[in-house]
Symmetry: C2
Subunit: 414 residues, 2 copies
């Protein structure tokens, strides 16, 4: 176990944790494509056929043999005989011969022999039997070739891709209406603290309601996983040990929030160590808020022990839990496609920070005449309303003593 006295950098801690995760993928299931947005594809999907299966026009016009139009101009148009018009959704029942053209709608199927389409704009009608083509077209012009969208056997969607609207559209296009996806990992949320009562209760003297299990539950859903709120448990070795063991048997990850008072954190660390190998990986991070966090792995299942302060819970989720849940979900994504939305702003006031810890500061965005400003939200990290008032966070790097008024910042939006 690392950390505690000499706390770890967040990035190193995360990598250590990830190294201790088994390389397995979640179970698979079949879903209809209309139910699959946001799910993670568990198999490469390849096209069972050519898309489209025939050459189509991309414009309204006349389909021709391109060679018949070579050299055509307004001064010297190419005269063409008309074959019968091609209707939408139908096979042209003839072969186009040299010197002939046939009216075709956008999306219409080219007849045999045709290899290009002249747009209506570049044609003059002489009578019902003949047109003048005023411009040449190249072979293939204004045509989508058979298989041009997707060739038979071509991989459309890779395993590990989170399904976007266009991925689902592509499946529909090639007739795949049921696909295999990974099951969403389930995450047990355990609230601890002798002072915590359910949100429905009226707290007695010295008691407060459970905030963190709701906060975590919503964040875990956003990460594409299934949150399971196990309930509120007393800071007691046997009680916590039992619920953690139960959760190890019925979920894919465990998040314990609270238990920040003296001794309780150590107790949670002990329970994680005794539950199985490797146990606690780190305890303590050079991160503010979030310093007393525990990260562990028990028989392949990640276990997070979070401080009780809501702002710390939020940051620890963003930095540790979200990336780990992504791995558990089977997502393989280019790194620059992950992460949250950010906006550029300037810092509205000086803020100080201690060197040697990465500090995440909650900020509100304020639009002024001279642009967007990030206004730090004052208040202790134990206050949920500091998160509610904030639009996002900025990071003061490990090696800095603070930041100055007017400095450009990237605000990571919630």
């Amino acid at each position: 176990m690392l950390g505690r006295g000499n706390v770890l950098d967040a990035e190193i801690a995360l990598q250590l944790l990830i190294k201790n995760l088994p390389s397995k993928t979640p179970p698979e299931k079949d879903v209809r494509i209309e139910d699959s947005p946001g799910m993670v594809c568990s198999q490469d999907i390849s096209s069972p056929e050519d898309l489209p299966s025939f050459a189509r026009s991309t414009v309204d016009g006349y389909t021709v043999k391109a060679e018949d139009t070579f050299g055509a101009s307004e001064a010297m148009p190419a005269y063409m005989n008309l074959s019968r018009e091609i209707l939408m959704g139908e096979r042209a029942g003839f072969r186009l011969s040299n010197g002939y053209a046939a009216g075709i709608p956008t999306g219409g199927m080219l007849p045999e022999g045709a290899d290009a389409v002249v747009m209506f704009e570049y044609v003059q009608t002489i009578d019902e039997k003949m047109i003048e083509v005023l411009r040449p077209v190249a072979p293939g012009e204004n045509v989508i070739q058979a298989g041009e969208d997707a060739g038979k056997g071509e991989i459309l969607i890779k395993r590990g891709q989170r399904l976007r609207p266009q991925d689902i559209g592509a499946c529909a296009g090639v007739g795949i209406t049921v696909i295999q996806v990974y099951e969403r990992p389930s995450v047990s949320i355990i609230s601890t603290g002798d002072e915590i009562v359910p949100a429905e209760s009226k707290p007695g003297a010295g008691q407060v309601r459970d905030i963190n299990s709701y906060l975590l539950s919503a964040m875990i859903s956003e990460s594409g996983c299934i949150p399971v709120r196990k309930g509120i448990f007393r800071d007691d070795y046997k009680t916590l040990s039992a619920v953690i063991k139960e959760s190890l048997s019925d979920s894919d990850a465990i998040v314990i929030s609270g238990g920040t008072s003296v001794g309780v954190k150590d107790m949670i660390g002990r329970i994680i160590d005794e539950a199985g190998d490797p146990g606690v990986i780190f305890h303590g991070i050079s991160l503010k808020p979030g310093k007393p966090m525990i990260g562990g792995v028990v028989e392949g299942i990640p276990v997070f022990g979070l401080p009780g302060h809501p702002a710390a819970v939020s940051i620890c989720h963003e930095i540790f839990i979200r990336p780990v849940l992504k791995i558990l979900s089977g997502v393989k994504e280019k790194i620059y496609l992950s992460g949250r939305r950010t906006v550029k702003a300037r810092l509205s006031k000086n803020i100080s920070s201690s060197q040697g810890r990465e500090e995440h500061v909650r900020v509100m965005l304020e639009k002024r005449d001279d642009g967007l400003w990030a206004v730090p939200v004052l208040g202790k990290s134990g206050l949920i309303t500091t998160l509610v008032r904030a639009d996002g966070t900025i990071v003061i790097a490990l090696n800095r003593n603070g930041m100055e008024k007017g400095e450009p910042v990237d605000v990571r939006l919630f």
Copy 2:
């Protein structure tokens, strides 16, 4: 009606459309907070009580009257008598007198008379009855005051806010477990085209499967609305008119995709005009892809006529449908919080564009040694796989002829 001959700028067209929408909000319903993430709050939510309801310690230590510690130092510590320790989740059963201190855990309730907490680190134990305080504390130090997180009557969440995890946590904290939200608007999706067959079918000669209703359905869900795929309809006045009228009576917005062949677009425009006032607002946009788009409003219900090309459908959704659905959803959001995630990259090659139209180019991101590059995805806008291969889009502004290799671009990620 504007557009057609002299097509409109996209931004102007959108504003015209929005101006024609009625200013009404969706019906409301009650939901449990755990089911509310992403929904839109329909009422200001204010705190029914002080949060927390008592002064709490933010550290492990000893609670004192701050004045008793003034001037304390390692050389000259303040000697304090110990009262009995305060336990978590309980009311201290005594009033703290001058000269006394009481052990208190993080989150513990301060006894009457106490106004600050000294951290364990700054205390030395003499015996079980007395401690030395080595540093002074100010009144309120290491304490969250009653009502400091939220005061009774304070507005926590404003009407029109899309509910984030922390908003739900704040509700839990003040005992609000059921809240009022807006119903999600329902959006009818009508696919037209004589060549279109359902995704489950084997297309005959000249036929293609329905891609757009799946693409639209997933995008509309992402926008927080309920997509209703009405089916595939022939390009026929009576048929389309009937389904559009039915949809006007049972949904909050209508999207018609396809029908790009000669005459059909005009027919759809005519149906929209005849269905009610004001009818078609614009037909034709200086946008590529997406130029032949129709925007209309019929008796308060927005109706979109989209070209059939998937890439055009995607862009038209992003630029027109998404902002309109946001309004229909009742979302009131600062403008800089909306929009998609973008990343900075450099353009990998020259691309040309015609001045006078805003062009959206699909790009793939490529990480090279010298940073991130945006590589244009070649292929016609009728190809769904161009969207599948792309990671996002870049915009070539209306007044530009193209962009040069190496230019910095903002890639709007899908």
